[in-house]
């Protein structure tokens, strides 16, 4: 187990380096000369040259990349082009909000998804199963940005029971978290169902029946524990989609998180900010995946050896 964690950690290093490389490389795609952009229109050749010198843009790419890596290692994510503040500072202000949103959303994904999946699996091919699975299928097809707007219209405009936008109280969390968590919940529900149906066919469930256990106990004690193991991985991967989804949901509900920061930065062509935001979110995702893998491995070891 320890060996696995170490090996997995070692595997993560090249992925992280790869991510930094991709982010660095994408910024090289920017059309035009960044020095010219920075200097602004009508700047003299000398000014541009000076900026180029100052930013080290006249050095070979690999040197620049190495520099970039070194800076990252020192916690230097660059400086915003708009307000000249360190990018990391801005990220650290925004991050807690996004993490809070993500956490509530993943909670909705897990509770709603697993609950619906179990309801479905308990009576396969019944009305309740077909109904839940139909809702789940629609759930994965809804665009979150539309779903969010419709929720907002219904609960905030029509019924006026929830705030329209912002991030001030727990009430403000409900709609964004529901918007962000719903799609994942649909996926988790489908996964939970198929995993449960798979487990219910296993020999050890028959053994449990042969013992004379009640159906309820068989499902919640014997089947569910096994069925949820593969679902863990899906939830972990869902977290990545969720981080991406914050971009849309934060924009809809006017939440000043990391996602909205990235979108605003793109609009204002503040590249270091975009770079930093995307990189940071990706690092979080890589780390979450690492945890999920170890977690899954820990639970799955017993089953693999079977």
């Amino acid at each position: 187990m320890l060996m696995f964690i170490i090996r997995r950690l070692v595997q993560t290093v090249p992925v992280i380096i790869g991510v930094t490389f991709v982010v660095f490389f994408i910024m090289q795609l920017v059309p035009g000369d960044p020095a010219v952009l920075l200097a602004g229109e009508g700047a003299s050749k000398d000014t541009i040259e000076a900026i180029r010198e100052q930013l080290g843009l006249n050095r070979p790419l690999y040197v620049q990349y190495f520099d970039y890596l070194m800076n990252l290692a020192n916690g230097d994510f660059g400086v915003s082009l708009k307000n000249s503040q360190p990018v990391l500072d801005e990220i650290l202000v925004r991050l807690p909000i996004t993490l809070e949103l993500a956490l509530f959303s993943i909670l909705i994904t897990i509770v709603l998804g697993m609950g619906a999946g179990i309801i479905s699996a308990v009576k396969p091919y019944s009305m309740q199963d077909v109904g839940v699975m139909l809702v789940a299928l629609i759930g994965i097809s809804l665009p979150s940005f539309w779903f969010g707007l419709m929720l907002m219209y219904f609960f905030s405009v029509k019924l006026q029971i929830l705030p329209v936008a912002g991030w001030d109280s727990l009430l403000h969390v409900i709609l964004p978290a529901l918007t962000l968590g719903a799609g994942g919940a649909a996926i988790v529900a489908r996964m939970t169902r198929s995993s449960m149906l798979d487990v219910i066919r296993q020999d050890y469930i028959r053994t449990a029946r042969a013992k004379g256990l009640r159906e309820r106990l068989i499902i919640y004690k014997h089947a569910l524990r096994n069925a949820l193991i593969p679902v863990i991985t899906v939830v972990g991967l869902q977290f990545g989609a969720l981080l991406g989804g914050t971009v849309l949901v934060e924009s809809i509900f006017a939440i000043n998180g990391l996602g909205r920061m990235i979108v605003d930065a793109i609009r204002m062509r503040d590249l270091p900010m975009v770079q930093g935001g995307v990189l940071f979110a990706s690092l979080i995702f890589v780390i979450v995946n690492l945890f999920v893998d170890v977690f899954y491995r820990f639970f799955n070891k017993r089953i693999e050896l079977n």
Binding site: I138, I140, S141, V234, A241
Partner: protein, 300 residues
């Protein structure tokens, strides 16, 4: 936006599909006849394609024509889906928008599939270090959460529908590569590939004439499900103002516009969203049905 994950389990070619071409088409048709769900999905998709092709004939108004005297009209007999803030007919805009929204989806998936299939085939066929390098690169691309990779690409290339296509397509590359690689490994093991090789066929012939046709079904399944996601992602990016720009009748852009009138004219946002949802639902149903039909292991 949150269904990037759905096809994580590799879809592997079942033995049964290794068979001549004519019967594959016939199988495909018979699958469609038997699998009612896939049929429903196919009908929805065909309906949208029909709309996209005949939009100029079907649309009652010019989607760009501004008639300020008719602005913000709720749905009526003259304007089935109402009009927007500039008096444009929403129905006509949605009909025309199908070309953009579906077009971006198809183009992005085609782009992703093209590179993904090549990477996957090469990685699976040659194995060893080629495989390691390609798949590690794919892992890195998958390490970006959700549409953030697309966002990064757009931030560099600038907002436009074409850049959205590239960005969304790029995100599909590793997903196709993974599935194609898995299936290639499976097919490569079959005896008949060895036999062909011993007959002196070169790698290119083996890969494209013998392996590729046999891994089509997982590619089709993946492609269908990716289309659903790609359309959602592209519409989402346009919604954020990073793709199609107003006055383009792209659905995401329309939705973004409708958001400003959510209080007074909710139907502006309602209909484009429904158009996206139903189309994506069609692709999801169709993809699910295909997967059930192609992959016997996934069946009940």
């Amino acid at each position: 936006m949150s269904l990037e994950v759905k096809t994580e389990q590799p879809i592997v070619v079942p033995q049964s599909i290794i068979q001549p071409k004519e019967s594959r088409l016939r199988d495909f048709l018979s699958i469609m006849m038997v699998n009612k769900a896939a049929m429903v999905g196919a009908i929805i998709i065909l309906f949208y394609i029909f709309i996209a092709i005949f939009a100029p004939i079907l649309a009652p108004y010019d989607p760009y024509e501004i008639q300020l005297e008719n602005k913000l009209m709720p749905p009526s007999f003259e304007h089935w889906m109402g009009t927007d803030d500039k008096g444009r007919d929403i129905l006509s805009r949605i009909l025309y928008g199908s070309r953009l929204s579906m077009g971006v989806g198809f183009a992005a998936v085609a782009f992703g599939a093209f590179f993904g299939i090549i990477f996957g085939l090469v990685a699976g066929y040659y194995g060893k270090w080629v495989d390691s390098i390609i798949m590690r690169i794919m892992d890195v691309m998958l390490a970006f959460p959700g549409i953030l990779l697309a966002l990064a690409i757009i931030s560099a290339l600038g907002p436009s529908l074409i850049n959205v296509t590239i960005a969304v397509g790029a995100f599909s590359v590793p997903l196709f590569a993974r599935i194609v690689r898995g299936s290639t490994l499976e097919v490569k093991r079959l005896e008949y590939i060895d036999a062909i090789r011993s007959l002196g066929a070169n790698d290119f012939t083996i890969i494209f004439k013998h392996i590729f046709p046999n891994i089509l079904s997982p590619i089709i399944v993946q492609g269908t499900l990716r289309l659903a996601t790609a359309i959602l992602s592209a519409a989402g990016l346009s919604f954020l103002g990073l793709g199609a720009q107003p006055p383009s009748p792209e659905w995401g852009t329309m939705l973004s516009n409708g958001r400003d009138f959510l209080f007074s004219a909710p139907y502006i946002a309602l209909f484009p969203g429904m158009a996206i949802s139903i189309l994506v639902l069609g692709f999801n149903i169709f993809g699910d049905g295909l997967r059930d039909a192609f992959d016997p292991r996934m069946k009940k």
